[in-house]
């Protein structure tokens, strides 16, 4: 059954001088439990807007979002989010950041510690528990952010181009890390990206967005077996998928440039 249901969701932004921008055309989209779905689209296509609506940080102009049948009415701990910008709390250490959500919900200290240790190990940050975010590299900050979101045990993990600000090598390692975590502990994931390799490598399903106003243009199943190794990126099947998506995205990027 579908865990997340996006029903007829559209978004119109109202400008300061009364002009309207249609960011999203009405979208219907379902995400099944433990599915890993990537949303691929050119920049400015509204894919982040859709993710923010699912997170409850933005509101749809029409339609609604259901999580386990319950309408989303605002942000909540059941939808963990990792942002593109570095959003660790700079006054908290790595460990305190990861425990933030647990503390908010009043979990007993020993339990917080246990969960925190588990996820610190999972994202490979042992030894950095007491570092402040500014003492970490960008990749380490995003790993902490992933651990922070996962420690809360959300029903669905939302990622908004989380590796977009990282250098290429680090990004590739982060993709493998995240995929490894997903493979070992099943979790529903909705991942927004403009990177075609990233979209294919991690996803079971890729949803391609059109240029603004955004809508889902194509959906593509990615059937590579798990666990996936980075070498599949050079396999002919991967290449074929990539070529297809490149064409799709190219058409949209050109459409976006024409506006």
């Amino acid at each position: 059954m579908s865990q997340l249901a996006i029903q007829n969701v559209s978004r119109i932004f109202h400008g300061a001088r009364g002009q309207q921008t249609q960011a999203l055309l009405p979208i219907d989209f379902d995400v099944h439990e433990n599915d890993f779905v990537t949303i691929l689209g050119p920049s400015g296509c509204g894919k982040s807007t859709l993710l923010r609506i699912v997170a409850g940080l933005d509101y749809p102009t029409t339609g609604r979002v259901l999580l386990d049948g319950q309408p989303v009415e605002g942000p909540g701990a059941d939808r963990g989010m990792v942002f593109q910008s570095y959003t660790l709390f700079p006054w908290l250490t790595v460990e305190q950041n990861i425990r933030f959500g647990l503390r908010e919900r009043g979990m007993p200290k020993p339990e917080q510690q246990e969960r925190c240790n588990f996820f610190i190990a999972k994202v490979g940050l042992r030894g950095f528990e007491n570092h402040f975010p500014k003492q970490l590299s960008g990749g380490m900050q995003q790993r902490t952010a992933i651990a922070r979101a996962l420690a809360n045990d959300p029903k669905i993990l939302l990622l908004d181009e989380p590796f977009g600000a990282l250098d290429n090598q680090t990004r590739v390692l982060m993709q493998e890390l995240l995929l490894g975590i997903w493979e070992s502990a099943q979790k529903t994931v909705l991942f927004v990206t403009h990177d075609i390799d990233e979209a294919i490598f991690m996803a079971n399903r890729v949803a391609v967005f059109s240029a603004r106003p955004g809508r889902i243009k194509t959906e593509l199943a990615v059937d590579f077996p798990h666990p996936r190794h980075y070498t599949i990126k050079t396999s002919p099947e991967f290449m074929e998928l990539k070529a297809r998506l490149t064409e799709e995205i190219r058409a949209e990027s050109m459409a976006a440039a024409d506006h």
Binding site: A55, G56, L57, G74, P75, G76, A77, R79, G80, M81, F83, S85, T87, F89, P90, W91, L92, F100, G101, E104, R105, K122, G124, L125, G127, F128, H131, F132, K134, Q135, L136, S137, G139, M140, A145, R148, A149, N152, L158, T170, L173, E176, L177, G180, I181, E183, S184, P227, H229
Partner: protein, 285 residues
């Protein structure tokens, strides 16, 4: 499972610069080029020396009449007299107590008010115009009114400092809190924080270094208000001593009083800075 060797990417930024030798600065006079610590102190001290030298030259050389400007030596002698004969320590104590008392009262009211204004736009819309208006009312102009209301006692002195500080702190704190990073607030919401969690555990800790800096700044201004308050209708304090000395044309004592104020201000500023650095290690990283 993650078949990823973490050692390859877990290099903290801070570990790379160990054992590095500072490069030689070739262009010490270029804009924005940094100065090393020793030079910094030496330069800072040099100006004081220069200042005293010029002062001594004009006063001891007889170019300025002692009636208008005492020499550094006279000043030092008068200063000693103040402590030895006139119990100047008591005056200093009174002034310090007034500054900190008034400032403390202002901070206790203004900081929570500023946080409420910064966090809640409704509170801001309600109070901001009035507080902005009050900010421009000169504290010294209130002295006659305050004397009328509170007499010539300590309360009146404290109120001058209070009026001079409270509106400034409120507005500056409100701006600091209001300019919190939106993405951190959103992150906290997705981690399950509610409104009170956002204020207590995101807005306040994020704004704390800025608030502390505001307090340090306004404490400096409080020192100027206290002297004004003591110039009128006072029987103790550094400002009172200065008015007394004016009547006796004792410029040495006046200058000594001014220097003492400067020194106390400098020391409290240093202490404040050191405290802020200790409390908010993360913000200086």
């Amino acid at each position: 499972m993650a078949a990823l060797s973490n050692s390859t990417i877990s290099d903290a930024k801070g570990t790379t610069d160990s054992g590095a030798v500072a490069p030689v600065r070739r262009r010490p006079l270029a804009p924005l080029e940094s100065v090393n610590l020793t030079t910094r102190w030496a330069l800072g001290l040099a100006f004081f020396v220069l200042f005293f030298a010029v002062w001594s030259f004009f006063t001891l050389g007889g170019y300025v009449s002692p009636t208008f400007l005492a020499s550094p030596i006279t000043m030092a002698e008068e200063g000693w007299m103040l402590f030895a004969k006139y119990n100047f320590l008591y005056d200093i104590g009174m002034t310090v107590w007034r500054v900190f008392g008034g400032f403390f009262l202002a901070a206790v009211i203004a900081v929570p008010l500023g946080i409420a204004m910064g966090a809640h736009k409704g509170v801001e819309a309600f109070l901001e115009p009035f507080v902005s208006f009050c900010r421009y009312l000169p504290a010294s102009a209130f002295i006659p009114l305050l004397i009328l209301w509170a007499g010539l006692g300590e309360l009146q002195k404290l109120l001058v400092i209070f009026i001079g500080s409270v509106f400034q702190i409120t507005l500056m704190v409100a701006v600091t809190v209001g300019s919190a990073r939106r993405d951190l607030v959103e992150a906290a919401y997705t981690l399950g924080a509610d409104s009170s969690g956002i204020v207590k555990r995101v807005l306040i800790p994020g704004a704390a270094p800025g608030i502390a800096e505001t307090l340090r700044l306004v404490l400096g201004w409080a020192w100027t208000y206290v002297i004004v308050a003591e110039l009128i209708g006072s029987s103790s304090g550094i400002g009172h001593m200065i008015t007394d000395s004016q009547a006796l044309l004792n410029t040495g004592q006046i200058i000594f009083g001014i220097i003492i104020i400067g020194l106390i201000g400098l020391v409290s500023d240093f202490a404040f800075k050191a405290l802020n650095r200790r409390l908010f290690v993360w913000s200086a990283l």
